[in-house]
């Protein structure tokens, strides 16, 4: 087969055409874009289902419970597999999800939801409170624990301790100012109003930094596709 034909009939060429089809949306809405979009959605769903079946359902439900069970009631043949009866509980919960198909029994879905919510809350609330609130609070209010962190950072990276502490004070004041902005029980007037105004400025600075990072992230993704297109073009037989 001629080299040019091999290049043309390849997965890479197909991927490049689909990439260009998606990018064509920048010009305007068109059938090529729609086709590529639908194909992407369909493939993603199919891939996700297949992977979940093979990597989650098969090893965690079918092999340890469903297949051995079907073997025991002689629906499936083959070498008998050991059965783990404990799996009857998650299997029951999994089947409960299907109850929505029959409106009369759809209330049963509350069982797995209740179980999951209870389990999730029990697991997450104490740890999340510690991780996302207490630890952050110590750091913000210059708790000795947070201060040791500043000393460590200052020593490790050769920063002036004064600079590190000043930045911590800025964070502390900024947090208070932002909280003041969102505290509506007191009118935003006079000194308090100015402090709340400082809070909104801090928020805007934060949003600006996030926007800059977001732009960088989106460009990075675009560059990923552009690099792919360049590697595809560079593969063109000379």
């Amino acid at each position: 087969m001629p080299a040019i034909l091999t290049w043309l009939i390849s997965w890479k060429t197909l991927a490049a055409i689909l990439t260009l089809a998606i990018m064509s949306f920048l010009y305007k809405e068109n059938p090529f874009y729609r086709f590529a979009e639908y194909l992407f959605v369909g493939l993603s769903a199919g891939y996700g289902f297949a992977m979940t079946y093979h990597l989650a359902m098969k090893p965690n439900l079918l092999r340890p419970f469903i297949i051995p069970l079907l073997q025991r009631i002689h629906i499936l043949g083959g070498e008998p597999l050991p059965i783990n009866w404990w799996y009857i509980i998650p299997t029951f919960f999994a089947l409960c999800y299907l109850s929505v198909i029959v409106p009369k029994y759809s209330n049963i879905i509350r069982l797995p939801f209740a179980f999951l919510l209870g389990l999730g809350s029990g697991m997450a609330i104490p740890r999340s409170f510690q991780a996302a609130i207490l630890e952050q609070l110590w750091d913000t209010i210059l708790h000795p624990k947070g201060y040791h962190g500043y000393v460590d950072m200052s020593e490790k990276y050769g920063w002036s301790l004064t600079l590190v502490v000043v930045s911590a004070i800025i964070i502390f004041v900024s947090v208070l100012a932002v909280l003041a902005y969102f505290f509506f029980s007191k009118p935003h007037k006079g000194a308090y109003g100015k402090f709340a105004r400082f809070g909104i400025i801090i928020l805007m600075i934060g949003f600006g930094a996030s926007f800059g990072s977001t732009v960088m992230a989106r460009f990075s993704l675009l560059i990923g596709r552009l690099m792919f297109l360049l590697s595809w073009i560079s593969g063109f037989p000379h």
Binding site: L26, D139, S210
Partner: protein, 297 residues
């Protein structure tokens, strides 16, 4: 005078309404130029990146680190170069690497990244052995349960690797009981998974955790560095480029082998594009304020 004012206004109106096509075309040219000309940046490692680098550098040879590839194809250009760079660094220090993912989409991407670095080392004349130097555990459903599970009994959570090998029999995983035997977990994430690693692995088991995140999420995880909940963080393509440049330099010195650069090339395009965008924002603002002033008159 009136004629002059009319001309100025027309110009301001025009620059405020540049057609979308020309803006995108300009962006495309700016993004493509550094890629075509292969202009490489000479990045300087930021503090958060250096914290991760220093931590890995301080680990004794033979230590085990775990990488979590919790991202999909959409975040790949940002996160994969980080993962590649960290693996190169680890292998050069004699540190062994386990890979896993909490996201179905990350299954193939994680395997591809790990295989790619193994291939690089083979080409460099320093072949790595699967099962001894690196292991890929694949996808495990359950998110928080998996993270907690590793802290309880590693082998119960991951009885088999991605290829179906028994983790109790493989040289790398044989002696790993729980987090006590894992020096560091690095989560490459396009979502909120670093929060789960912090909440369950760090808070509950005191496991050292680092994160590699997309630039969009960087600001969300920064507070966790100073508190020590994260040992460091790789934030977006900038951090990827910093780390990549360092590891490429290390491989060139040690093996005389140059891995294909990715982030170090991409970051130049990102920088140019950011400048382009800032210029557009300034132009847009000048136009907006000038027109508003005119309307008020």
């Amino acid at each position: 005078m009136a004629n002059n004012e009319k001309k100025t206004t027309t110009f301001l109106e025009k620059i405020g309404q540049i057609p979308r096509f020309w803006i995108y075309l300009g962006l495309l040219v700016i993004l493509m130029l550094p890629l075509i000309l292969r202009i490489k940046a000479k990045p300087r490692m930021g503090m958060e990146t250096k914290m991760v680098y220093d931590f890995i550098d301080s680990l004794p040879p033979g230590s085990v680190i775990m990488l979590s590839f919790t991202y999909g194809p959409s975040a790949r250009p940002e996160l994969e170069p980080m993962a590649l760079a960290i693996m190169r660094h680890a292998y050069m220090r004699g540190i062994r690497v386990m890979g896993m993912t909490l996201s179905v989409e990350g299954t193939g991407l994680g395997l591809e990244a790990m295989t790619r670095v193994a291939k690089e080392f083979e080409e460099a004349g320093y072949p790595l052995t699967y099962g001894e130097d690196w292991v890929y555990l694949g996808y495990k459903t359950g998110w928080a349960m998996v993270i907690r599970g590793i802290g309880g009994d590693f082998h119960e959570t991951f009885p088999r690797d991605y290829y179906g090998n028994d983790t109790r029999k493989m040289a790398l995983t044989r002696d790993i009981q729980n987090y006590d035997d894992i020096a560091l977990v690095i989560d490459f994430a396009s979502g909120g998974s670093p929060g789960s690693w912090i909440t369950y692995a760090y808070q509950q088991f005191d496991q050292k955790v680092a994160a590699g995140v997309t630039a969009v999420m960087g600001a969300d995880w920064q507070p966790y560095i100073r508190t020590g909940q994260l040992v460091g963080m790789l934030n977006g393509m900038k951090a990827a480029a910093d780390y990549e440049a360092k590891t490429i330099e290390m491989m060139e010195k040690r093996f005389g082998y140059t891995p294909k650069p990715y982030a170090t090339v991409g970051i130049v395009s990102v920088t140019w594009a950011q400048i382009y965008l800032i210029i557009l924002i300034i132009i847009g603002n000048i136009s907006f304020f000038a027109l508003r002033r005119r309307r008020r008159r």
